[in-house]
Symmetry: C2
Subunit: 325 residues, 2 copies
């Protein structure tokens, strides 16, 4: 999960001097933010600091991060002609700053002991489409589903376009040095299984197959996906991300053999007293026991008000309790 963020005072200090997009687009700064949690906690991997929506800006839709309001797309995609009007740009040019960040982080990480791998970072087509169509975060996804149900051909054209862009972007991150990739389908849990099968699965299958061919592990992440896990497995990925709403052992049972899982501590559990955090970490490790391929993580991102010491408590508990197991 994104480890760097507003919960870290050193991140907040950087944000006082730099806009969010400026941080993302300045490789030296983005690399520094990527490394902040590595400097502070003995975590086992670094995850690229970026935003899933960066890929949308070169499409010409007018991406802005308005203070306090989250991302805004000034020219949302609502009709077929909006889909057809999206611009194409190779990530090596349009998103060169991300690839430069990957290279800068890899150089820094190479100088460190122990060796910590870098996980690349990208949004999945459905979640990207939901922002493109809504123009901002959403609760109900009315515009997204209206396009999906009302003009399926336009929907599929958009998903194809986004899947293709995502594959190119992720492969460019891998070529630049990302040693694994996490694909965030953060909001796909707003769909039922039938809709996932019809409107998302074919695109995810193709995208994940193409990314998988690049030869690095792929983490396929979503939230609220308790009823979609089998379909996410069918879509692909070496590791399926689980949020805290499912029991890890039960969910892994449904996913079957030959796939890892990532998860699934509730980010809000980090507001609990440290002994309760430890109990919850132990419970998750216990539920994962006996099966290789568990990546301990939160079920979603670290919340801004999270006490830093409690993040440290999680990292320590995971290391101590898994060494003991």
């Amino acid at each position: 999960m994104r480890q760097a963020g507003r919960f870290l005072p050193e991140y907040r200090a950087l944000r006082e001097r730099h806009g969010f997009l400026e941080l993302c687009k300045t490789p030296a700064l983005a690399a520094e933010v990527t490394l902040l949690p590595i400097r502070r906690f003995p975590v086992d991997a670094a995850i690229l600091f970026a935003d899933i929506l960066l890929i949308l800006e070169p499409m010409g839709v007018g991406l802005e991060f308005a203070a306090g309001d989250g991302p805004v797309i000034h020219r949302p995609v609502r009709r077929r002609e909006d889909v057809d009007g999206l611009l194409h740009a190779a990530p090596e040019q349009a998103l060169a700053f991300v690839l430069d960040t990957v290279r800068a982080v890899r150089t820094e990480l190479a100088a460190r002991t122990p060796r910590v791998p870098l996980i690349g970072f990208a949004g999945a087509p459905f979640t990207l489409a939901s922002y493109l169509i809504e123009g901002r975060g959403s609760r109900d996804y009315v515009h997204t589903k209206s396009l999906m149900y009302g003009d399926p051909a336009a929907w599929h054209a958009l998903m194809e376009r986004l899947a293709e862009a995502t594959v190119d972007y992720v492969k460019a991150q891998i070529a630049a040095g990302a040693e694994a990739v996490q694909l965030f389908d953060s909001w796909v849990g707003c769909l039922g299984p039938d809709d996932y099968r019809t409107y998302v699965l074919p695109h995810m299958k193709r995208a994940l197959a193409a990314i998988g061919a690049a030869g690095v592990p792929v983490i396929h992440f979503g939230t609220g996906t308790g009823a979609l896990l089998e379909l996410m497995r069918e879509a692909g990925g070496d590791v399926i991300g689980l949020d805290w709403r499912v029991d890890l052992a039960e969910a892994w049972g449904r996913l079957g053999d030959g796939v890892g899982v990532q998860g699934n501590l509730d980010p809000v559990a980090l507001f609990a007293p440290p002994e309760e955090i430890r109990r919850r970490v132990a419970r998750i490790l216990e539920r994962a026991a006996g099966r290789p391929g568990h990546v301990f993580n939160l079920g979603h991102g670290v919340l801004p008000a999270t006490p830093v010491a409690h993040v440290a408590a999680v990292v320590d508990a995971v290391h101590e309790l898994s060494a003991r197991a």
Copy 2:
């Protein structure tokens, strides 16, 4: 699901002249709002117009519906002493206006052919607690879970208090004439199964057993509860509400015999073209086929921007397609 609301022009006209709480607290108006959908659509039941938070006001926490902002609790419950400071009041006095509304609706319904039953309406303890603690709607439930994890004794005391108040309130609605009851645990899906089992299940079991003793059918509703269904069944209720994120047949299979289900059309599907709405209604009826005890409904409330004609299309499709089946 609440059928009356902002999607109806006659409701919006009433709201131009009356505040939301004023509507709720004036039995003649609340009864009229309850009956609006009955007058417009050939639905098979009326559901009491009320707000789940009305029960909190007599506890002395300062409930307000601020225009555009949703409900606000001016003195949220965050610590044990806040829980202990909640006031007690019998629903027959403090919520007499709701009971008068129930009586007024029953009188009106008795004069109509065909006979349409009235479903009572109340929030479930967890969802009530989440508003009481957060002070407003929430995305992450940080304060709610912080109390739950940080002071379980205070949490359980609060849940006991809310469960008791809910039982009294629902029984009073039944005594006044409600012929079934829907208990809304709208936000309980933010919890994983372990937390539900520890922090919610015992209270729901007791409350649903007490309500069940009153002898009318109880619909136990939640959203995002794909991983909680077996536990919700264990908690009780004659019918379990399903949202659109689960497959109806698969979910009902997990719930087992001897329980009905309600659901599960996505409210956003009502923005689709009528023929697509019809296809989706047919699909749900098909998934429910062969089992008695299915209450067709949306998976959550009707959204304000929903076209009225599309609500009519759902009602017509359900009647026509289930008569055919």
